[in-house]
Amino acid sequence: MSPSTSSPAEHDHHLVAHHFENLEQQRDINTLGMWVFLGTEILFFGGLFTAYAAMRSIWPGPFAQASDKLSVELGGANTAILLTSSLTMALAVWASQTAQRRLLQLFLALTLLFGATFLVIKGTEWYHEYTENLVPGVNFSWPREGDPVREIGLADTSVPTDARDPKELFFVFYFIITGLHALHMIVGLAVLSIQLTLALRSDFGVRDYTPIEVSGLYWHFVDVVWIFVFPLLYLLRH
């Protein structure tokens, strides 16, 4: 620790937990801890994408037909909204690093707003898919078209899975992947809401940017998951 950086560390003595040497070490370890968690998250979503890739390689045609039911416009708009929320999150971390309290509050609020907008659009998509009878296990049915064996009694859940339509399997993946992604968004929104409340009430995030940096890493990760969800589920149709 050089003298020039030890003075703020001494100043922030009350911020450093007793098992850390100084704020810098604490910051590095906290950030590393979030990255270890994100490593497990890579494998969590990776498992879903692996299963999706295996099934899609078996039934490319039905998966493409099923994917055609999704709205590229809404999915694309949500991609742009989530990328914008990542920009405002990055700017919130920058405001925190440069100790600009008003900007930190503003960018956290904007990130929450874009995140909530994403969930509202995702919710309208799900509702639309429900009205189109595309929810497996609830109301899935697909109009008959030439292959009667596959088309008879699709909504009949007594039919063993491998005799049912692979298009239904696509929607199983769709709802599980987008549902778990939305769950991550909700967790992120909860964390950012708490941090915004603290930042409005105190100098939270201005004394020490670590908490904002760490929740920012999580937020960007959830964005990265969607960067893969959008092309894999919405776009690959040929």
Partner: protein
Amino acid sequence: MTHPTISPRTYVAVFAALILLTLLTAWLGATAQLGAWEIPVALGIATVKTLLVGLFFMHLIHSSKLTWLVILSALLALAIMLALTLVDYWTRPYGPVSLPPPTSSAARLDGSERLTAARGSVGREQ
């Protein structure tokens, strides 16, 4: 050691690149006929976007070697899972069960009977 900050100007430039790549991937998905190249191109664009988010928004460009080690370990495990799983699926005669053509009586069977009939016919072929 203090962490250098990345300027808002850089963040906005990265954001602009991310939006352009999103438009590119949506345009390719909607209009272009890439055939077998569709999946590699889409995954390639998604990987470039991930690198932009990771390097700049998540500050990996300034991160420690230990952080990189953690990420690369996770990616190595992901690569093993993807490769071994897909190699298995892609090298088995695994696919849709070939069902017998429907007859008027087959159409009246319930699903489990139909599947049993299908498995029976597969068995007879062997």
